[in-house]
Symmetry: C2
Subunit: 225 residues, 2 copies
Amino acid sequence: MTDDSTAAAPSRRELNKAATRQAISDAALKLLRGKGPGNFTVEDIAAAAGISRRTFFNYFSSTEAALASVTNGFLDHALQQFRLRPAEEPILESARAALMELADPMTVAPMAELFTLTQQNSSLVRSELEAWDHCTEQIILAAKERVAKTPGAAIDELYLRALAGSVISCGKAAMDVWFAQCGADLSPASLSVLRQLLIDAIGHLGAGFDSPARPSSPTLLKDRF
Amino acid sequence: MTDDSTAAAPSRRELNKAATRQAISDAALKLLRGKGPGNFTVEDIAAAAGISRRTFFNYFSSTEAALASVTNGFLDHALQQFRLRPAEEPILESARAALMELADPMTVAPMAELFTLTQQNSSLVRSELEAWDHCTEQIILAAKERVAKTPGAAIDELYLRALAGSVISCGKAAMDVWFAQCGADLSPASLSVLRQLLIDAIGHLGAGFDSPARPSSPTLLKDRF
DNA sequence: TGCAAACTTGCACTTAGTGTAATCATGTGA
DNA sequence: TCACATGATTACACTAAGTGCAAGTTTGCA
C-alpha cells in the first residue's frame, strides 16, 4: 500500500512535515492579507493552520520566520540559477544572469504581494533584510565552491564579499525602485520595467558607477517618476 | 543657578534624558561584556542603570536597540563626514572619503568590541543589519539633498540606491574581513590593514569588479590569510 | 510661588518563546 | 499482524518582552 514508485523516497513523515510547514506559511500569509501586519498572533496562525501553538514553534521561531519563506523562496530561485552558471564565467556575469531570473512572473508574484503587505512594518522589514543578507552569504559560499573547483585560482575574500554584497544591493535597489514605480503590478509591461531596472543596476555596478549624476534616460523607459 | 553660557541651550530635561539614555546603553554593554548575549534581561539592564523596567522601554524598544547605539554612533560618524563633502564631488568619491573615517581608532574601537561580543547571536546580528540599512537610507537622503542644491541636475533613483547600497556593502565587507583577520586588535598596524581594506573594497567598486579572480596583492599587504 | 507639561514609575495585562512530560503517529522487524 | 522504537503533536507551566494606564514626581515658565 506504500508509494515507492520514486527513487528518493520521501517518507510519510517527511511529507506530513512539509505539508504542515506549508499550511503554516499559507495561514500566516492569509492572516497578513486579512488583518494586516501586527494584527494577529501566533495563536491565530496555529488555529488557522489546524495545529497547536506549540507545534507552530516547532516549525518556525516567530511569525516573521513563517512569512519569510516567501522571500526565501524568491531568493533561493536566484541562487539556484547562480549555481547553474558555468564555473569559468566571471562572477559578476553569473550574478547578472541569476538576477534576471527574478523578473519571472511566477517567481516575483508572491514577493510583490508580500512587499505591499509588509510596507511600514519594522519587524517584517527586518526579516526581509535578514533574508537578503542570508542570500549574500550563500552567494559567497557558492562562489567559493566554484573557485575551489578551478585548480590554479586563489580567492580574494574581500573582493568576493564586496562583490556579493554589491550585487545583492543592486538587486534590492532595482526591486525597491520597481515597487515604488509599479506597485504590485505584474503586467508584462511592468515586468519588463523590472527587467530593465535589474539590467541598469548591474550595468551601473559593472561600469563602476562612473556617471556622477544622471540627467536623463540611460537606456529606455524611465519616466513616470 | 542655570547654566546658560552656551547658545543652543540644552535644557535640564534634555540633559537628563541624554544622560539616562547613555546610562542605559552603558549598562547594557556592561552586562553584555559580563554575561554574554542572551544571558541578561531588560530588568537587569534597568537595575544596572538605576531606572525602572518601564522607563527602559520609554527609551528603547528592546535590548538590541539599546546596544545598537554603538553601531549607530559608528555609522553616524561616517554619515556626518559624507555630508561635509563638497556638493560637486562625485558621490562615490564622497563615500570613499566618508568610509575612510571608519578606520579612526576612537571611532572603530566600540564597534570592534561590540562585534566580538555579538558574534553568533542572531538577534544582535539582525539589529546590526538594520543599522547598516538605516545608514544606506540616510546616504540616499543626503545625496538627494545634495543634488537638490544643484539647480540643473536630476537624480536617477536607481543609480542612487544601487550606489548607496553597494558602498555600504563594501564598507561591511571590509569590516567583516578585518574582524576575521585581526579580531578586535586596535594597534596601528591593524588599523592600517582596515584602512587598506576599505580602500581596496571601494577600489573594486570603482573599477566595476573587473578582475574575475584575483591571484595576488592588488596594492599592498594582503598575505596572512 | 504655583501651574502646566514632561518624565518616571508601578501595576496589570497580552503575547512570545521554551522546557517537559504525556500522548499519538509512523516505520520496522519478527 | 503485532510489538516496539522513534519521531511528532500537544497541554501545561513558566519566564520575559512589550504596552496601556493612571498616579506620582520633576522641570519649565510666568
